[in-house]
């Protein structure tokens, strides 16, 4: 009973494999499937670096056994890009300087993606609440919030708000 044959769809691709009961989903993703974009941070359900979407809801993949994902769909950071096009959330993080060391970024982007796929007009408070289970030790969250707002605007089809990452001279159109 401690070995199980499971089928998990990861980023749209079904994978059938034999796993031990005790294998954590994050290890299946990183070690078995070699999708190393999903990071292991605290390994104790606090930091959110290992966040993936399970049937489109964010979960901490260090706190779920792979066998529990049998028959379900997992989306990782590698699944955000489509046909060579970055996901709006990825573009938002790039444009707004939403990362420094990048360790929390994959989990942060998965949580942001789940939020924006439900609600493309979140308030700043809703964004901050949604990412409160994802810890970032570099940015102070300011640019992460801007990155998610940038992505939200793009997903609404609106023009992105002017970026604070852009030098003021460019924003006002004045020459330095």
């Amino acid at each position: 009973m401690s070995m199980h044959t499971i089928t998990v769809t990861v980023n749209g691709q079904p994978h059938t494999m034999e796993v031990e009961s005790r294998l954590l989903l994050v290890h299946l993703i990183r070690d078995t499937l070699r999708l190393t974009g999903t990071h292991i941070g605290c390994d104790t359900t606090h930091c959110g670096a290992c966040t993936v979407l399970l049937d489109e809801r964010p979960v901490k993949s260090c706190t779920l056994f792979a066998v529990q994902a049998d028959g379900r769909a997992v989306r990782t950071v590698e699944g955000l890009e489509r046909d060579g096009q970055l996901h709006p959330v990825q573009r938002g993080f790039k444009e707004e300087h939403g990362l420094q060391c990048g360790f929390c970024t994959p989990g942060m982007m998965m949580t942001a993606t789940a939020l924006l796929e439900r609600n493309t007009s979140p308030t700043e408070e809703e964004i901050r609440s949604a990412i409160s289970g994802n810890l970032c030790r570099c940015t102070g969250y300011v640019n992460i919030v801007k990155a998610i707002q940038h992505a939200a605007a793009e997903m609404r089809g609106a023009t992105a708000v002017p970026s604070l990452a852009t030098p003021p001279a460019e924003r006002t159109g004045a020459t330095a």
Partner: protein
């Protein structure tokens, strides 16, 4: 962290799950949300030989009001409480509580029933369910029984549940007219256990005096604690500032905290006094139906 080996079964019925638990007599654990159990297994603080995963059992994810009570099924997640219209409209104390359990990602998985069955005094629902006079329905090999939440917690991580019993639902009596409740928690950061927390649920008579009060405390003892002296003190009194201050003092006296990184016993006891007053004021405003801010969970 790699857990030690265990067997895993995902039965498709409660009968099957209970039979498995019975056959393994204390060496099997129920896996529902897993947000407390899996960390314990990873840290090897728990090493069950069998996990009985109840997530594949259909029909247990409900949050619904029927027959004069709110029923919360074994697989209802904290996020389901947050999204529930009936909870939002009729049980704001539950919304207060669900919103401060761990963090939003954990709440997508964590179950409300598991928050009770785990028996952790740092969990938030035990106090709230005590204040609401809720009961759990436990199902074992010999059938189902109701256990009042006030009798569920025997000691630290120890409940009145038998080793073959599964909490199948929580039953909360529907509050009568002029009722309101609130949960107030002091936490150092999102996801931390409470430094202290207080749940208060009150029912007022037409003249504004208190017909019933439920008050219970989080993480200031080996179990959640019902502040019974404070509850009794409020009966037949108007819930004015002076009365609430005295009840809050009684609630603080019921606390039995230990020193840890979150503070000294004196500090925690005083935080219970402050939080009890805040929770009672918010509960009273909600009972009068006169406070939109309280209903939105903002004090």
């Amino acid at each position: 962290m790699i857990p030690s080996r265990f067997d895993y079964v995902a039965p498709s019925s409660l009968d099957e799950a209970v039979a498995l638990l019975g056959a393994h007599e204390g060496d099997a654990k129920v896996l529902s949300g897993g947000q407390s159990l899996i960390p314990l297994i990873k840290l090897r603080l728990a090493a069950p030989s069998l996990l009985v995963d109840i997530n594949r059992i259909p029909g247990l994810a409900y949050v619904e009001e029927r027959d004069g009570a709110l029923h919360i099924g074994a697989l209802a997640r904290e996020a389901d409480l947050e999204r529930s219209a009936v909870v939002r409209e009729r049980y704001p104390i539950l919304l207060d509580t669900a919103r401060v359990v761990a963090d939003p990602i954990v709440r997508n998985s964590a179950t409300v029933c598991g928050n009770l069955a785990h028996g952790d005094p740092g969990n938030d629902h035990p106090a709230t369910m005590m204040a609401l006079d809720a009961a759990v329905v436990a199902r074992g090999r010999h059938g189902s029984r109701a256990i009042p939440v006030r009798e569920l917690f025997v000691g630290l991580f120890t409940t009145a549940l038998e080793s073959d019993e599964i909490v199948t639902e929580i039953v909360i009596p529907a509050p009568p007219p002029r009722s309101g409740g609130a949960y107030r928690k002091l936490e150092r950061k999102v996801g931390d256990y409470a430094t202290a927390g207080v749940a208060a649920q009150v029912t007022l008579l037409e003249d504004g005096t208190c017909a019933r009060a439920g008050i219970a405390l989080t993480n200031v003892g080996a179990t959640a604690i019902a502040a019974t002296a404070a509850e009794a003190f409020l009966l037949h009194k108007p819930l004015d500032a002076e009365t609430i201050a005295q009840a809050a003092q009684l609630a603080a006296q019921a606390a039995d905290p230990v020193e840890d990184r979150r503070g000294t016993p004196d500090y925690k006891r005083d935080m219970i006094r402050v939080l009890a007053a805040r929770a009672l004021h918010a509960a009273e405003r909600r009972a009068r139906g006169s406070d939109a801010a309280a209903a939105a969970g903002r004090d």
